[in-house]
């Protein structure tokens, strides 16, 4: 059973609002910059894809992620005609790192921060009157996991409308530990390139309003969610498992009632790490088989950085915009694809007019082997 997306919102390093973000991505605009909020001297890595909203370079504020989340949810709710009152609407938030950045500032620097705002319920209640709020801290697939749970609520008839959101900001702990484990510090994210060096984190939030299919509702919809799978590798605490990913991709397609040949576009997870991109490419190649050269493929983390828990939903919004417009943002920095992805039809260097795109697949995988894959469809034009 499918659901309608009736509103969307996005905030990222490349822009504010879905239109601006999508235009920027299609123009090949990158949010890459030198580290703004942390002391650069403490790291080998010096770059990230940050939202430039701090008062001064090198200083940091608590609560930035919460602000972006509220803006993304506000945009999505307004577009869906829900206004500012979400008192009766469940809001499911997927995040990797919650407001842990604020906790770091509070504990280390004594910055005032209410620890009750580590999760987002209080802020959502203050702004939207929302009380049925759930913060899922599910690493980098968290927002697509939240989408899957929302789809289940609509499918079982428990709800008519659910808001789904994702948000993350850089924490110094995660940025520093990634810096520690990278053999050579990356200066940008290069998904699926042979010379990729690893991931750089990015700031961002994304939100959608998901509605049960009602007669007549489709005319206002941005698109349709056909199905979302979610599973766990149960294999390794940080390294991905191609088998677990392949199961998630296959299950999503099976739930959606589509075959690999029906997919016109794939928004890959594509983090630019050695392990993810190799595992994802192997899994996609296995599931798609001879159809692997069919769909257009792209990975937006080359321009947004890894927006962690929010990344899946941001990719999903981009996919819906691409299906509606026929334009697909490029995978920047992809000079020579890794061997497992040689047959993929990547969109490279500049946005492509994809023509008649109808069905898209969105991948999101996270630490702990948590995988989620969504299949979406263009709304009737």
């Amino acid at each position: 059973m499918s659901q309608l997306v009736t509103g969307a919102g996005a905030v990222a390093s490349v822009g504010e609002g879905v239109d601006e973000v999508f235009r920027a991505l299609c123009a090949g605009t990158s949010g890459l910059g030198e580290l703004r909020g942390f002391d650069r001297e403490r790291y080998r890595t010096r770059h990230a894809y940050e939202i430039d909203d701090r008062p001064a370079p090198g200083t940091d504020l608590p609560g930035r992620a919460t602000d972006w989340l509220l803006r993304a949810v506000g945009e999505a709710a307004a577009q869906a005609g829900l206004g500012e009152d979400l008192s009766e609407v469940p809001v499911l938030i997927g995040t990797g790192l919650r407001e842990l950045r604020s906790a770091e500032l509070a504990w280390r620097d004594g910055t005032p921060f209410d620890i009750g705002r580590l999760h987002f319920g209080t802020a959502l209640r203050t702004r939207f009157g929302a009380v049925r709020t759930h913060t899922f801290s599910g690493a980098c697939s968290a927002s697509l996991y939240a989408l899957a749970l929302a789809a289940d609520l609509l499918t079982t008839g428990a709800e008519d409308t659910v808001v789904v959101a994702g948000v993350d900001t850089l924490t110094e702990s995660m940025y520093g530990l990634l810096d520690r484990v990278n053999s050579e510090p990356p200066d940008r994210v290069r998904p699926f390139d042979r010379d990729r060096r690893g991931v750089l984190m990015g700031d961002g939030a994304a939100a959608v309003v998901l509605r049960r299919e009602d007669p007549g509702a489709e005319s206002r919809a941005l698109g349709r969610v056909r199905a979302v799978s979610m599973n766990c590798d149960a294999n390794h605490v940080t390294a991905p498992d191609p088998q677990g990913i392949a199961r998630a991709v296959h299950e999503a397609q099976w739930r959606a009632g589509v075959k690999p040949g029906d997919i016109d576009l794939v928004l890959l997870h594509g983090t630019g790490t050695q392990l993810n991109d190799a595992a994802e490419a192997a899994a996609i190649a296995e599931v798609f088989g001879r159809e692997v050269s069919g769909p257009l493929m792209t990975a937006i983390k080359c321009m947004t950085g890894h927006t962690s828990g929010g990344s899946g939903l941001l990719s999903l919004i981009v996919a819906l915009e691409s299906l509606a417009s026929g334009r697909v943002p490029p995978t920047l920095g992809l000079a020579e694809p890794l061997p497992e992805a040689e047959a993929f039809r990547f969109v490279r260097e500049e946005a492509r007019e994809g023509g008649d795109l109808r069905v898209a697949q969105i991948d999101a995988f996270g630490f702990g082997g948590v995988n989620a894959v969504a299949i979406v469809e263009r709304a009737a034009r």
Binding site: A103, I115, T133, L153, R180, V181, C232, T238, G368
Partner: protein, 378 residues
């Protein structure tokens, strides 16, 4: 987000808290808090050993202990061994913790400021992600179903139980292990502004399972999940679960619940109240799961006393059957239900859940009911 009763049942409970090894013991300890020296911290090595756990944080180890016990209690893992006896993709994991990896995040940030990222231990990387607890439970037991981590404030544990049930109700999995865990350390104590002695260092776990799947493998259910609500305040939440002031058999109150003036209390005064945090410390994201574990203990005791009074402290509670002769046993009368609430009017919301006896533990109602407890209490 309300389930019909009877569809999802509890088939296993596991505890990793000092001084309470079973639901019954947790209930006893809650009813009569022990005075004197605090019990020794829970020894995770005694249950899961030391090998392979060196780099796991304390919250993860506690969660592994509770999950192992719950899965064994549910008959999903043999007494010796750790692999589940059902296909791994039929089992989901839902963990809840608000404070679990705060220490890794804050200590790492401080270490970077003092020296540099180059000096960090790469072994800390997994613990920087808040879902590390749920991940390790899945890895340890080969659980390949959906893997959720709730970090949802005061209601988080009860929300986690709900989402475990939701995964089952939606057909995503046949069963899920739900874990609530918190610990304390210098970072947590500082950020909460509380001493370690006030705070839980422990975990609780439940196996929630589709009733038909439990039945199919011959597993015994110890409770059935009733409706769940998340509402703006305690009064609204209780009213949504128990309309018209119906009196539950027991009320597991929010953490450190203080009775307001008579008119402001959402549950009749005759209903016994239990605050599990009095026994185990302030429990944050673990609370709801601990409450459910204690409620399983209450249901077992009520079942053991079949018909003769659900709870000796309940006073008139046992007389609360409204059924007359020939009445069908469904629905379960409120007096045989355990009301569980997490979060109070100062929190972003209050979550509530009813835990019900399973049919084989619900004896036929008495032929005649003298009074309902509500009448007595007014």
């Amino acid at each position: 987000m309300t389930h019909g009763p009877g569809e999802v049942v509890v088939t296993g409970v596991g505890l990793a808290v000092p001084g309470a090894g079973t639901p019954e013991a947790l209930l006893r300890r809650t009813a009569c808090p022990v005075t004197g020296p605090a019990p020794e911290p829970f020894d995770t090595a005694a249950r899961i050993g030391r090998r392979g756990h060196r780099y796991k944080d304390r919250a993860t180890r506690l969660a592994l202990c509770a999950a192992l016990e719950a899965l064994r209690n549910a008959g999903l893992i043999p007494p010796e061994g750790e692999e589940v006896t059902v296909p791994g993709d039929t089992v989901g994991v839902v963990a809840s913790s608000n404070l679990g990896n705060l220490d890794t995040a804050c200590l790492t940030a401080a270490a970077i400021a003092e020296r540099s990222a180059v000096d960090l231990s790469p072994m800390s990387l997994p613990n920087a992600s808040s879902n590390v607890i749920a991940s390790w439970v899945a890895i340890r037991h080969g659980l390949r179903g959906p893997n959720l981590m709730l970090c949802n404030g005061a209601t988080s544990g009860l929300d986690a139980v709900h989402w475990g049930a939701a995964l089952v109700a939606a057909g995503r999995v046949r069963r899920a292990v739900v874990i609530g865990v918190e610990t304390h350390n210098a970072v947590v104590e500082d950020l909460l502004g509380r001493s370690g002695g006030e705070l839980l260092d422990g975990a609780a776990a439940l196996v929630v399972e589709g009733a038909r799947w439990a039945e199919a493998r011959g597993a015994r259910a110890v409770a059935a999940l009733g409706p769940y609500e998340r509402r703006a305040g305690l009064g609204g939440c209780v009213e949504a679960l128990l309309p018209d002031g119906a009196a539950p058999g027991v009320w597991f109150t929010p953490e450190r619940y203080a009775e307001g003036p008579a008119g402001a209390v959402p549950v009749p005064g005759t209903v016994p109240r239990y605050d599990v945090t009095g026994a185990v410390g302030r429990a944050s994201g673990a609370l709801g799961v601990l409450q459910c574990a204690a409620a399983v203990g209450w249901l077992a005791r009520a079942g053991a006393g079949a018909g003769a009074g659900a709870d000796p402290e309940a006073g008139v509670g046992s007389a609360a059957f409204e059924a007359g002769p020939g009445a069908v046993p469904d629905p379960v009368p409120a007096s045989r239900q355990a009301l569980i609430t997490s979060g109070d009017d100062t929190a972003d919301a209050v979550a509530g859940l009813l835990l019900l006896p399973t049919p084989d533990r619900c004896p036929p109602p008495p032929a005649r009911a003298a009074l309902i407890s509500m009448e007595c209490s007014r």
